[in-house]
């Protein structure tokens, strides 16, 4: 089934993905390297769900990593 192309934002940069893409696909395309965690549309997605988490047009994905903080 051709699901076409969807447009998503990963860390505020626009990406075009296949319509059946998952969060795992998005993390790969972005080149995310561990350790990182993810949220889609301000909702946390556990690492164990990346493969099942289907993305849809307009999703905003955050891939975040540890940094220094106060």
């Amino acid at each position: 089934m051709n699901l076409g192309i969807i447009k998503v934002k990963i860390n505020q940069t626009e990406f075009e993905l296949q319509g059946n893409s998952t969060l795992e696909d998005a993390a790969k395309i972005y080149g995310a390297t561990p350790p990182f965690a993810a949220a889609v549309n301000t909702e946390f997605v556990p690492r164990s769900d990346y493969k099942e988490k289907r993305l849809k047009n307009g999703d905003e994905i955050e891939l975040i990593s540890p940094i220094t903080g106060g």
Binding site: T33, A37, E43, I64, P66
Partner: protein, 272 residues
């Protein structure tokens, strides 16, 4: 103010217990703004902090810097207190806290919900319900808050077993700008309290510890000192000194001078 701890146990009292978990020091240290990772590591080594704060940001092209910080944290082997710095809504806080829990493998969270970008004052209207939501998700919440008594009490009421009022806005180094509010808070709030934000000098830390605060959390005062390592040590000494003074029970100030040397037998003294 009467010390609530046993003064004879002073050496043990360098530790702080939060949510039933004991940490080795009453000084909590931030990891940001140091001249280099090496200086941060050395500051941690000399000041022996109970926890280190860390944060989360979008993974950028500079992946190496994040990776090396991560490796440094593993090496330092100090409990991590992730923060939700920069969050402006309950939803952002909750997602950030959950991401932090997955990465740092800890339920501890320093709740920062910013209400004003200029002063970095917390969103006091939504802070309590946000803390409550985090607690329901199993987090051990240390909320960064103002020195408002009723707000702090509400945070305790929804299950915060410690609260972290500011001394002054983050990064200002002004020290306690409202001593009356902070002293009142200490008298009224019965859970552990940590002064978070606004300290600039070891004397500031010493002062709030003398008032009976249970710990201090600081970053900029150490990181931006000309010699951060030496300043980290100075803050640790100040925290211990203040705690010792609190446990010792300070004398009451007197209006009139009273000689400390006995008057009886003073040579050359005679009635005039």
């Amino acid at each position: 103010m009467n010390p609530s701890h046993n003064p004879s146990n002073e050496s043990k009292d360098s530790e702080i217990t939060l949510y039933g978990e004991t940490f080795k020091s009453r000084l909590l240290l931030g990891t940001s703004r140091y001249p280099s990772p090496e200086v941060l590591a050395k500051a941690v080594e000399v000041s022996n902090p109970g926890m280190l704060t860390a944060s989360l940001r979008r993974q950028s092209s500079d992946k190496e810097s994040s990776k090396s910080f991560w490796e440094l944290l593993q090496k330092l082997n100090v409990p991590i207190l992730p923060n939700t710095a920069g969050c402006h809504s309950k939803e952002e806080v909750i997602a950030t806290a959950q991401m932090a829990r997955e990465i740092f493998e800890t339920n501890w969270i320093k709740l920062e919900l910013i209400g004003d970008d200029y002063t970095l004052q917390p969103d006091t209207v939504n802070l309590v319900s946000t803390a409550q939501a985090l607690i329901a998700l199993g987090f051990k919440v240390l909320p960064y808050t103002t020195d408002d008594l009723v707000l702090c009490q509400k945070l305790v009421d929804v299950g915060c077993q410690a609260v972290m009022p500011w001394a002054a806005p983050i990064g200002t180094g002004k020290g306690p700008i409202n001593p009356y509010a902070l002293e009142t808070l200490r008298e009224r709030i019965k859970v552990p309290m940590i002064i978070d934000a606004g300290l600039g000098l070891p004397s500031h830390a010493c002062r709030v510890m003398e008032w009976g605060y249970d710990g201090v959390l600081l970053n900029t005062a150490v990181a931006l000192a000309q010699d951060p390592v030496s300043m980290a040590r100075a803050f640790q000494n100040a925290v211990n000194a203040g705690r010792g003074a609190y446990l010792s029970g300070a004398m009451q100030p007197q209006e009139n001078a009273q000689p400390s040397t006995p008057v009886l037998g003073t040579p050359f003294w005679h009635h005039t």
